[in-house]
Symmetry: C2
Subunit: 324 residues, 2 copies
């Protein structure tokens, strides 16, 4: 027993050393950084009236525009386009059928014109019709080879260094970090553990239905061309309730699509933290908000003001955008 | 650095002490117990060719009939009946309307006759129409006060002691334990952490839809009288894929409703473990299998034989059934 107590004492001594270090070196000193560290210090201090037990320290993060870039279009849409091009040789009918014709001819105007229905067709043609294991392999191959059109880097290199540090900092303080994204749940899971340290079971996203079938006596899950759940706007609190079953105490987003998630999080009792990443850096990344067709941040910006949520000014608050 | 190494050494020494103890004292020595410990020793031994990294050590458990009893009817159905009785004063129309009339008059025959449709009405009348927070409170109150008709004990006292030990044993070996049950996800979450050590985010189950609404400016999730997902049979692998996103390496069930979950689990590569709890003890619990209207185990018993899965004979393999 004496030995165990000694071990515990040493572990604690080691842990407090850790928290004393600056785990957020890419954040400039300022209100944004200070609001984060103040919140974390307060909920982890057993003597504070805002103390939160470790198991209740749930933090949820949007992905597109919050953990990685989302311009000029959502990266998953580029994946869908690349996929349609790769599959075109088996689909001669796509040469004359929209939105596939637009994709194959790089006709952006026609693609935009195909609207939500066109987008749906594109997603289903590229994301359904294979087993979950096959799809995982397809994503894994794409994510480790495809390059961003502007930066000529892997998409996983276009993650935000300050947010990576924030994830690590929260986990060092016994937070459980989740992704809650409008993006596809099975599009993210193959790489989030390696890139963000977030394991598959802590990734929540939009999904299509799957069906259990037996092939040569082996069970497989076949991805169906049918929407299961859209994890956006009011869908986010619903998905959080379904997947996590606890209300988070901290939420991080960048668009109006995250507003309900932030509202849901910050409406809980006790200390809460809500943060918007505001894209203000047209040189190092992109600058967009109220009128953007992607990642529109309008109502959210107003509500952040009213509620006193933290708004990160990427240009001012972040020393670097991407890792190295 | 020297200190840290010392701490790590001590922690490891302490950990190996733990694993040397018998963490399964309520299991009689025999094939069932041996199959469990052999599997766990093999997947946790870094030198074994069957070694599995801790993050992949996912174990899934059915609840009704696997972790707690399910006779004379599913406990959640007793909850629904109790709830309808409690709400009856506000529903005078129930006096003449089935299946409510049957419930209020304790008319089992009429209740059975109302069939699946009657059951659906009963579940929706008792489980929908309130916020998620209110429902949690209702469940919490019932589960800490209602008593089982035969044993006159709280339902949470009718959990299987050997299975509690198994959960602890697996977690001590760095398994992540999940419930994957046909029961309601929000019916289980309020008490599984305290009773099984399984937190809400590791509970998967059937669900009804929820809707985000604002009451006095505060977001609430209202439970809708509409099925969202039925987590039974082929639904179990689908739910595992959706919620966990990894294939488990061990699965535990007791009925044909768990068969697809066991098939899905044991069809994976590498070392796998599938186990059926067979209800064979009419004295200490109940004895039922191929012809039971609840927890029917027929195809599963045949498949266990063919596949070499472990079948626990409750009467023979378990020293005790319930705690104390």
């Amino acid at each position: 027993m004496k030995n165990i107590l000694f071990v515990i004492t040493l572990v604690f001594a080691f842990a407090s050393n850790l928290s004393a270090q600056d785990l957020l070196p890419s954040w400039n000193d300022g209100n944004a950084k200070k609001s984060i560290t103040s919140f974390v210090e307060k909920v982890t201090d057993p003597k504070s009236k805002s103390y939160v037990k470790p198991e209740e320290r749930i933090a949820v993060f949007d992905n597109d525009g919050t953990l990685w870039s989302e311009q000029p279009i959502y990266f998953q849409l580029i994946f869908a386009i690349d996929r349609v091009k790769a599959l075109a040789k088996d689909h001669p009918e796509w040469k004359t059928e929209q939105p596939f014709k637009a994709v194959l001819e790089n006709d952006k105007e026609a693609l935009v014109k195909s609207g939500k229905e066109g987008l749906f067709k594109l997603i289903m043609a590229s994301h359904a019709g294979m087993t979950t294991v096959e799809f995982e392999e397809i994503v894994r191959k794409w994510i480790t080879t495809a390059k961003h059109p502007k930066f000529k880097k892997l998409y996983t290199e276009l993650v935000y260094q300050p947010m990576l540090e924030l994830l690590t900092y929260l986990r060092a303080n016994e937070f459980k970090t989740y992704i809650v994204s409008g993006g596809g749940i099975e599009f993210m899971r193959p790489w989030t553990e390696q890139v963000y340290g977030i394991p598959p079971e802590q990734v929540v996203g939009s999904s299509i239905k799957t069906k259990l079938e037996f092939v040569d006596g082996n069970p497989v899950l076949i991805r169906q061309a049918q929407l299961d759940f859209l994890d956006d706007k009011e869908g986010k609190p619903i998905a959080i309730n379904k997947h996590i079953g606890r209300r988070p105490i901290a939420a991080f987003g960048n668009s109006d699509g995250d507003l309900q998630m932030l509202q849901w999080t910050c409406a809980g009792d006790g200390a809460r933290f809500c943060l918007y990443v505001h894209h203000t850096d047209s040189e190092r990344e992109w600058a967009y908000d109220r009128k953007s067709h992607i990642g529109k941040l309008d109502k959210g910006l107003d509500e952040a003001q009213v509620e006193g949520w933290t708004v990160v000014d990427m240009k001012k608050d972040w020393k670097v955008i991407y890792p190295n």
